[in-house]
């Protein structure tokens, strides 16, 4: 039995992380210049990360001033675990239910729990990539500023090791139930996607609601200040209720010298292990029910409606045909739909929710102070839409998503210009939905006039073009074509992270520029300047892309 499990895990690791193929490409010495360019692109992540770590350091100081240093740790564990959970939902759905190896695994004489167990193990590795960059700065800042001893670091090691387990188990169980009970009807892909988006929004809402309620209950207590001084872990104990494992982790480190530290560590690890076993147990009952029927595809076999003869002769321009194909694929592949379209719809809703429901009305306050006419709001919305142009991941996964079908693009006589325009258009199509989501949800906090709306649409779309192009440049340098489940082409693709870094730099630069000149010029001048910068950078990036695509289409193997 152990041998079976071990062999499953080994094979899954190998296919997931492409160990054999990495070995192969290291031996293959060509394409070195791409690796160098790719390395440079990776460096763009550093400034954003340094900035993040810097602001974390000042966050520690604030908590230290009110004597609630442990709250700093809680924030770290909470954000890492929530992110692991949200990414976990996407990863789990893709890896358990939409991965190509299932067709080979299911007929084998192995229990569902073995399949789930081995897939869970590989997902853990992917989740470390999510959790480590977040939790490490928290642990290191706290540990070094507080001058912690060896026990702190040993405990940290265990906590980091077990950190993704509980949220990933939770994500697995939620998805398995979800897939089992939505396994109905011909349109189940669509039903599942829409409900998944709503579920994630709901989860975030509930999280925020708990946080606000907890915050209010603390502040409302008459002896708030007294208890704040008395108990240095007060905030952690109250605010940690939204996800107890994060609370245990924070308390372990904050009290590492006392017995309570050890107890919390044991609870943290124990709950992780028990919840994992529970999930394995549940998988025996849930997994196959959600899976079987997932592989089947509804076909009419000619009994359905006949295709219209006009469809046999519909001529479209190449770039439009390419954009159309991209959009159909994005909308019809559930994993892409959740990641790309779900993303652009969710972000604006969450933004508004954090403001209007979370009790933290700082955004409204800012808007009130500045007034709508000032243009700050419009500029903010333009920036937000531009950022969505990167977050939607359409550009930075456009070639990776082709996967094994990439041969089609490379053997067809498609002009490079059409490749670029078509793919940028597909991203703008998705952006259109994001803009609608933003405008509709912004009704709840601010009244935008028609001029602002038009400006947001035009400048937002213009700004999305360079953002998409930056993603495309990174993706064509090292497209991830050899994937067996579609999630790998999306958020599990390193290109996405690097594009986010590069996009942040570009947008960050623009934000700095605008902040510096906003008092000195008329607002309409700033709009014009932004439009000019967007257009110019789009043109330059277009040229770069043209060279890179022509080159890579020949060199890739």
């Amino acid at each position: 039995m152990m041998r079976k499990i071990w062999s499953l895990i080994k094979t899954d690791f190998n296919t997931t992380f492409g160990l054999s193929s990495i070995g192969y490409s290291i031996k293959n010495k060509k394409n070195r210049w791409q690796l160098i360019l790719f390395g440079i692109a990776m460096l763009t992540l550093i400034p954003s990360y340094v900035f993040m770590v810097g602001s974390l350091s000042s966050m520690y100081d604030i908590y230290a001033q009110i004597g609630q240093k442990s709250m700093f740790l809680l924030s770290g564990f909470l954000s890492a675990q929530i992110l692991v959970f949200i990414f976990g939902l996407l990863y789990v759905m893709s890896k358990y239910y939409f991965s190509n190896d299932l067709a080979q695994l299911v007929p084998l004489p192995i229990k569902p729990s073995y399949i789930i167990g081995s897939k869970f193990a590989t997902l853990m590795i992917s989740e470390y990539l999510t959790s480590l960059p977040i939790i490490l700065p928290f642990i290191i800042i706290y540990g070094s500023k507080n001058g912690e001893g060896p026990l702190y670091w040993i405990y940290s090691l265990f906590l980091i090791l077990f950190l993704p387990v509980a949220p990933l188990v939770l994500a697995s169980i939620v998805v398995m139930f979800f897939m089992k009970y939505t396994n109905i009807g011909a349109r189940k892909d669509l039903i599942r996607t829409i409900s998944a988006v709503f579920f994630i929004i709901l989860m975030i809402y509930v999280q925020m609601k708990i946080q606000t309620l907890a915050q209010k209950s603390i502040v409302q207590g008459s002896d708030f200040l007294v208890s704040l001084i008395k108990d240095s872990n007060l905030l952690v104990k109250r605010l940690g209720v939204s996800f107890p494992p994060a609370q245990w982790a924070a308390l372990t480190l904050a009290n590492n010298l006392s017995i309570s530290g050890a107890t919390n560590l044991i609870i943290f690890i124990g709950v992780a292990i028990i919840s994992f076993l529970l999930m394995i147990f549940l998988s025996e009952y849930l997994f196959f029910d959600g899976l079987i029927g997932n592989i089947e595809v509804s076909a009419t076999k000619g009994r359905g409606k006949k295709i219209d003869t006009s469809e046999l002769s519909r001529e479209t321009k190449p770039y439009l045909a390419l954009a159309k194909k991209e959009l159909i694929m994005l909308f019809k592949t559930p994993i892409y739909l959740i990641n790309a379209i779900g993303g652009v719809i969710m972000f604006p809703i969450i933004l508004v929710m954090t403001n209007s429901m979370g009790g933290d009305e700082s955004l409204s306050a800012i808007i009130e102070v500045m007034g709508v006419e000032s243009g700050y709001i419009t500029l903010g919305c333009i920036g937000f839409v531009t950022a969505l142009g990167m977050i939607n991941c359409v550009g930075c996964t456009t070639f990776s998503r082709e996967g094994k079908c990439f041969w089609i693009q490379r053997t067809l006589p498609i002009r490079v210009e059409d490749q670029i325009i078509g793919r940028v258009l597909s991203s703008l199509g998705v952006q259109g939905l994001g803009i609608i989501a933003l405008l509709v949800s912004s009704i709840f906090i601010v009244k935008l006039d028609i001029v602002s709306i038009v400006l947001i649409i035009i400048l937002g779309l213009l700004g999305s073009i360079p953002m998409t192009q930056i993603g495309m440049i990174i993706d064509i340098l090292r497209p991830m074509l050899d994937w067996d489940n579609p999630q790998k082409a999306m958020k599990q693709n390193l290109n996405v992270l690097i594009s986010l870094g590069a996009g942040t730099l570009y947008l960050g630069g623009l934000v700095l520029l605008v902040i510096n000149i906003i008092d000195k010029f008329y607002i309409s001048f700033i709009y014009g300047l932004l439009a000019l910068i967007f257009i110019l950078s789009a043109l330059v990036l277009f040229k770069v892309l043209k060279i890179l695509i022509s080159k890579q289409f020949q060199l890739l193997e």
Binding site: Y24, K27, N28, K29, V297, S298, A299, T300, K301, G302, G304, K305, K306, I307, T309, E311, L312, S313, R314, E315, T316, K317, P318, L320, A321, L322, K324, K325, I328, M329, K332, T333, G403, K404, C405, W407, I408, R410, T411, L412, P413, I414, R415, F553, Q554, L555, E557
Partner: protein
């Protein structure tokens, strides 16, 4: 005219030559069979012709157009059917066909005429409204064949085209290949099915370990071999 001049391709550090100094001249109106055992270099050669693998050395031209220097011009003359058709399985059959036709710039009337004809011929007219994920291997193969025939290619390249086709479609495909030759086009295909090659091809090349070891009409091949019987015997003798 398809010309391959001193084409070589090496994979990896091991410096194994997958294709070693291959020269081919294929005339318009020829059906050319490309034979060889597994891993002999058939698919590698084909991929270099269609623009999927860049040769380390050598030149490939179609009607004088260098495939790697003027890819767009060359590609608009080529249609390629791979051995394992991985296509966009979330598209409907008709969406895929229209996409390919758009990329080749096939005109409205032409498109309609061809689609009507080939969809009927391959018996997939009723299926093209379904998404490709629901197709069997053979149906996918037929869809790819249809898409490859939309642009009147000068060079029609097929990698193991008979695999997965039912007898009737295989027969139809052979008819199509014949007809294309009569129109002065080149049909170039690789196969394991020696019988097909023997009956269909004007000329045959046998490749082994990256090198062309025999080339010519069936008659010429027979005259070189010791046992002058079937292609099977010649093949076995040569590739031993």
């Amino acid at each position: 005219m398809l010309k391959l001049r001193n084409i070589s391709k090496t994979y990896g550090r091991a410096q194994v030559k997958a294709v070693d100094n291959v020269n081919l001249d294929i005339r318009p109106g020829e059906i050319f069979g490309f034979l060889g055992p597994n891993g002999a270099g058939k698919t590698t050669t084909i991929k270099m012709i269609v623009g999927l693998l860049k040769p380390d050395e050598g030149v490939i031209t179609i009607d004088g157009v260098n495939v790697w220097e003027e890819p767009l011009k060359a590609k608009s003359m080529i249609s390629y059917v791979p051995d394992n058709p991985e296509i966009y399985d979330r598209l409907k059959g008709i969406e895929y066909l229209n996409f390919i036709a758009d990329m080749y710039g096939v005109s409205k009337d032409d498109r309609r005429k061809k689609l009507d004809y080939y969809l009927e011929l391959f018996n997939i007219k009723d299926a093209v409204g379904d998404i490709i994920a629901s197709y069997s291997h053979g149906m996918k193969q037929k869809l790819v064949l249809t898409s490859a025939l939309l642009n009147d290619p000068k060079l029609f390249i097929l990698d193991e085209p008979m695999v997965g086709l039912d007898p009737k479609s295989a027969f139809n495909l052979k008819e199509i290949m014949r007809k294309m030759c009569d129109e002065g086009r080149i049909v170039f295909f690789s196969t394991h099915v020696l019988e097909v090659a023997e009956r269909l091809c004007d000329r045959i090349a046998i490749i082994n370990k990256g090198k062309i070891i025999a080339m010519g009409t069936m008659e010429e091949l027979r005259s070189h071999a010791e046992e002058r019987e079937s292609l099977e015997k010649i093949f076995l003798e040569l590739t031993e």
